[in-house]
Symmetry: C2
Subunit: 128 residues, 2 copies
Protein backbone atom coordinates (compact mmCIF):
# COMPACT_ATOMS: atom_id res chain seq x y z
CA UNK A 1 0.00 0.00 0.00
CA UNK A 2 1.49 3.34 -0.98
CA UNK A 3 1.86 6.28 1.34
CA UNK A 4 -0.85 8.08 -0.58
CA UNK A 5 -3.34 5.29 -0.06
CA UNK A 6 -2.53 4.99 3.62
CA UNK A 7 -2.77 8.74 3.97
CA UNK A 8 -6.26 8.69 2.46
CA UNK A 9 -7.39 5.63 4.35
CA UNK A 10 -6.53 7.13 7.72
CA UNK A 11 -6.87 10.78 6.89
CA UNK A 12 -3.36 11.51 8.03
CA UNK A 13 -1.04 13.59 5.88
CA UNK A 14 1.85 11.89 4.14
CA UNK A 15 4.14 14.15 6.11
CA UNK A 16 2.60 12.99 9.34
CA UNK A 17 3.08 9.35 8.38
CA UNK A 18 6.75 9.93 7.64
CA UNK A 19 7.06 12.00 10.80
CA UNK A 20 5.60 9.19 12.93
CA UNK A 21 7.98 6.77 11.33
CA UNK A 22 10.95 9.01 11.99
CA UNK A 23 9.83 9.27 15.62
CA UNK A 24 9.71 5.48 15.83
CA UNK A 25 5.96 5.16 16.31
CA UNK A 26 5.54 3.05 13.22
CA UNK A 27 7.73 1.03 10.94
CA UNK A 28 10.36 0.99 9.76
CA UNK A 29 8.10 0.44 6.80
CA UNK A 30 9.22 -1.91 4.05
CA UNK A 31 10.55 -0.18 0.95
CA UNK A 32 10.72 -1.18 -2.72
CA UNK A 33 14.21 -1.47 -4.22
CA UNK A 34 13.86 2.09 -5.43
CA UNK A 35 13.15 3.30 -1.90
CA UNK A 36 9.35 3.78 -2.03
CA UNK A 37 7.42 2.86 1.13
CA UNK A 38 5.09 -0.13 0.90
CA UNK A 39 2.86 -0.37 3.98
CA UNK A 40 1.78 -3.83 5.12
CA UNK A 41 -1.00 -5.15 7.33
CA UNK A 42 0.88 -4.77 10.58
CA UNK A 43 1.77 -1.21 9.72
CA UNK A 44 -1.89 -0.41 9.16
CA UNK A 45 -2.86 -1.87 12.50
CA UNK A 46 -0.19 0.12 14.23
CA UNK A 47 -1.26 3.29 12.48
CA UNK A 48 -4.82 2.72 13.55
CA UNK A 49 -3.77 2.33 17.15
CA UNK A 50 -1.54 5.38 17.03
CA UNK A 51 -4.26 7.43 15.42
CA UNK A 52 -6.79 6.49 18.06
CA UNK A 53 -4.34 7.33 20.84
CA UNK A 54 -3.32 10.59 19.21
CA UNK A 55 -6.99 11.51 18.84
CA UNK A 56 -7.11 11.25 22.59
CA UNK A 57 -3.95 13.35 22.73
CA UNK A 58 -1.64 10.81 24.27
CA UNK A 59 1.79 12.38 23.76
CA UNK A 60 4.05 11.02 21.08
CA UNK A 61 6.86 10.24 23.55
CA UNK A 62 4.53 8.19 25.68
CA UNK A 63 3.44 6.16 22.67
CA UNK A 64 7.05 5.84 21.61
CA UNK A 65 7.96 4.58 25.05
CA UNK A 66 5.17 2.00 24.95
CA UNK A 67 6.28 0.75 21.58
CA UNK A 68 9.90 0.57 22.66
CA UNK A 69 8.87 -1.49 25.70
CA UNK A 70 6.78 -3.70 23.50
CA UNK A 71 9.72 -4.23 21.21
CA UNK A 72 11.99 -5.25 24.04
CA UNK A 73 9.92 -8.28 24.90
CA UNK A 74 7.99 -10.11 27.58
CA UNK A 75 9.94 -8.85 30.55
CA UNK A 76 8.49 -5.35 30.03
CA UNK A 77 4.94 -6.55 30.42
CA UNK A 78 4.40 -5.03 33.86
CA UNK A 79 5.91 -1.72 32.87
CA UNK A 80 3.75 -1.54 29.77
CA UNK A 81 0.67 -2.26 31.79
CA UNK A 82 1.53 0.48 34.25
CA UNK A 83 2.13 2.92 31.44
CA UNK A 84 -1.29 2.15 30.00
CA UNK A 85 -2.99 2.45 33.36
CA UNK A 86 -1.36 5.76 33.95
CA UNK A 87 -2.50 7.10 30.60
CA UNK A 88 -5.96 5.76 31.26
CA UNK A 89 -6.08 7.76 34.47
CA UNK A 90 -4.89 10.92 32.77
CA UNK A 91 -7.41 10.41 30.00
CA UNK A 92 -10.25 9.96 32.44
CA UNK A 93 -9.36 13.22 34.15
CA UNK A 94 -9.36 14.96 30.78
CA UNK A 95 -12.71 13.54 29.80
CA UNK A 96 -14.15 14.71 33.11
CA UNK A 97 -12.91 18.24 32.52
CA UNK A 98 -14.30 18.25 29.04
CA UNK A 99 -17.65 17.04 30.21
CA UNK A 100 -17.73 19.78 32.80
CA UNK A 101 -17.01 22.35 30.12
CA UNK A 102 -19.57 20.73 27.85
CA UNK A 103 -22.21 21.11 30.52
CA UNK A 104 -21.28 24.74 31.06
CA UNK A 105 -21.53 25.40 27.35
CA UNK A 106 -24.87 23.65 27.18
CA UNK A 107 -26.23 25.68 30.08
CA UNK A 108 -25.07 28.90 28.46
CA UNK A 109 -26.67 27.97 25.16
CA UNK A 110 -29.88 27.19 27.03
CA UNK A 111 -29.81 30.67 28.48
CA UNK A 112 -29.50 32.12 24.99
CA UNK A 113 -32.33 29.94 23.78
CA UNK A 114 -34.66 30.87 26.59
CA UNK A 115 -33.84 34.54 26.12
CA UNK A 116 -32.78 34.75 29.75
CA UNK A 117 -29.21 35.63 28.94
CA UNK A 118 -27.90 38.52 31.00
CA UNK A 119 -26.49 40.94 28.46
CA UNK A 120 -24.07 42.39 30.94
CA UNK A 121 -22.83 39.34 32.79
CA UNK A 122 -23.21 36.44 30.43
CA UNK A 123 -19.66 35.27 30.92
CA UNK A 124 -20.64 33.14 33.84
CA UNK A 125 -23.68 31.00 34.42
CA UNK A 126 -26.03 32.15 37.12
CA UNK A 127 -25.75 30.20 40.35
CA UNK A 128 -24.79 26.69 39.05
Amino acid sequence: MTIKEVSEKFNLSKDTLRFYEKKGLIGPVKKTKSGIRDYEGQDLKRIEFIKCMRNAELPIDVLKKYIDLYKSGKETKEERKKLLENQQKILKAKIDKMQKAYKLLTDKIDLYNSGKIDEYLDISIKNN
Copy 2:
Protein backbone atom coordinates in the same frame (compact mmCIF):
# COMPACT_ATOMS: atom_id res chain seq x y z
CA MET B 1 -6.82 40.20 45.51
CA THR B 2 -3.19 40.02 44.43
CA ILE B 3 -1.93 38.09 41.44
CA LYS B 4 -0.28 35.63 43.76
CA GLU B 5 -3.53 34.86 45.54
CA VAL B 6 -5.44 34.49 42.29
CA SER B 7 -2.68 32.31 40.94
CA GLU B 8 -2.97 30.00 43.94
CA LYS B 9 -6.75 30.04 44.01
CA PHE B 10 -7.05 28.89 40.41
CA ASN B 11 -3.79 27.07 40.07
CA LEU B 12 -2.75 29.16 37.11
CA SER B 13 0.72 30.68 36.96
CA LYS B 14 1.11 34.42 37.40
CA ASP B 15 2.60 34.51 33.94
CA THR B 16 -0.47 32.84 32.55
CA LEU B 17 -2.75 35.34 34.25
CA ARG B 18 -0.81 38.25 32.77
CA PHE B 19 -0.70 36.47 29.42
CA TYR B 20 -4.48 36.02 29.39
CA GLU B 21 -4.90 39.67 30.23
CA LYS B 22 -2.55 40.74 27.46
CA LYS B 23 -4.53 38.56 25.07
CA GLY B 24 -7.74 40.27 26.15
CA LEU B 25 -9.35 37.24 27.78
CA ILE B 26 -9.59 38.92 31.14
CA GLY B 27 -9.43 42.43 32.52
CA PRO B 28 -8.05 44.95 32.14
CA VAL B 29 -7.61 44.32 35.81
CA LYS B 30 -7.75 47.28 38.21
CA LYS B 31 -4.37 48.47 39.43
CA THR B 32 -3.27 50.25 42.60
CA LYS B 33 -1.71 53.70 42.11
CA SER B 34 1.70 52.05 42.10
CA GLY B 35 0.64 49.74 39.28
CA ILE B 36 0.02 46.48 41.12
CA ARG B 37 -2.92 44.37 39.92
CA ASP B 38 -5.91 44.04 42.24
CA TYR B 39 -8.33 41.39 41.01
CA GLU B 40 -12.03 41.87 41.77
CA GLY B 41 -15.07 39.60 41.85
CA GLN B 42 -15.89 39.92 38.17
CA ASP B 43 -12.31 39.12 37.25
CA LEU B 44 -12.45 35.95 39.30
CA LYS B 45 -15.65 34.84 37.59
CA ARG B 46 -14.15 35.46 34.21
CA ILE B 47 -11.01 33.57 35.13
CA GLU B 48 -13.08 30.63 36.29
CA PHE B 49 -14.95 30.54 33.00
CA ILE B 50 -11.76 30.84 30.98
CA LYS B 51 -10.10 28.13 33.00
CA CYS B 52 -12.97 25.74 32.49
CA MET B 53 -13.00 26.41 28.75
CA ARG B 54 -9.22 26.10 28.49
CA ASN B 55 -9.40 22.80 30.36
CA ALA B 56 -11.58 21.66 27.52
CA GLU B 57 -9.01 23.10 25.11
CA LEU B 58 -11.15 25.77 23.51
CA PRO B 59 -8.59 27.90 21.68
CA ILE B 60 -7.66 31.27 23.10
CA ASP B 61 -8.69 33.13 19.95
CA VAL B 62 -12.13 31.60 20.08
CA LEU B 63 -12.57 32.69 23.68
CA LYS B 64 -11.20 36.09 22.79
CA LYS B 65 -13.71 36.36 19.98
CA TYR B 66 -16.57 35.43 22.28
CA ILE B 67 -15.51 38.02 24.81
CA ASP B 68 -15.13 40.68 22.15
CA LEU B 69 -18.63 39.93 20.90
CA TYR B 70 -19.94 40.05 24.43
CA LYS B 71 -18.31 43.42 24.92
CA SER B 72 -19.90 44.85 21.82
CA GLY B 73 -23.40 44.42 23.14
CA LYS B 74 -26.83 42.93 22.53
CA GLU B 75 -26.71 42.93 18.77
CA THR B 76 -24.07 40.18 18.83
CA LYS B 77 -26.29 37.79 20.72
CA GLU B 78 -27.00 35.50 17.77
CA GLU B 79 -23.38 35.38 16.73
CA ARG B 80 -22.31 34.54 20.27
CA LYS B 81 -24.83 31.76 20.47
CA LYS B 82 -23.62 30.31 17.18
CA LEU B 83 -20.04 30.46 18.36
CA LEU B 84 -20.95 28.55 21.51
CA GLU B 85 -22.94 25.97 19.60
CA ASN B 86 -20.07 25.43 17.24
CA GLN B 87 -17.63 24.92 20.09
CA GLN B 88 -20.09 22.59 21.74
CA LYS B 89 -20.16 20.47 18.62
CA ILE B 90 -16.38 20.38 18.36
CA LEU B 91 -16.12 19.48 22.03
CA LYS B 92 -18.60 16.66 21.68
CA ALA B 93 -16.58 15.18 18.84
CA LYS B 94 -13.46 15.37 20.96
CA ILE B 95 -15.13 13.72 23.92
CA ASP B 96 -16.32 10.92 21.64
CA LYS B 97 -12.81 10.31 20.36
CA MET B 98 -11.44 10.30 23.85
CA GLN B 99 -14.03 7.84 25.02
CA LYS B 100 -13.19 5.58 22.14
CA ALA B 101 -9.52 5.71 23.07
CA TYR B 102 -10.43 5.18 26.70
CA LYS B 103 -12.28 2.03 25.81
CA LEU B 104 -9.37 0.77 23.73
CA LEU B 105 -6.99 1.42 26.62
CA THR B 106 -9.33 -0.34 29.01
CA ASP B 107 -9.59 -3.36 26.75
CA LYS B 108 -5.83 -3.53 26.42
CA ILE B 109 -5.36 -3.33 30.17
CA ASP B 110 -7.89 -6.11 30.57
CA LEU B 111 -5.83 -8.24 28.26
CA TYR B 112 -2.77 -7.62 30.41
CA ASN B 113 -4.75 -8.43 33.55
CA SER B 114 -6.16 -11.66 32.18
CA GLY B 115 -2.72 -12.69 30.98
CA LYS B 116 -4.10 -13.08 27.48
CA ILE B 117 -1.94 -10.38 25.99
CA ASP B 118 -0.27 -11.44 22.78
CA GLU B 119 3.38 -10.73 23.37
CA TYR B 120 4.05 -10.30 19.70
CA LEU B 121 1.06 -8.32 18.53
CA ASP B 122 -0.18 -6.40 21.51
CA ILE B 123 -0.31 -3.13 19.69
CA SER B 124 -3.81 -3.75 18.56
CA ILE B 125 -6.75 -5.33 20.32
CA LYS B 126 -7.88 -8.65 18.94
CA ASN B 127 -10.97 -8.48 16.74
CA ASN B 128 -12.87 -5.49 18.29
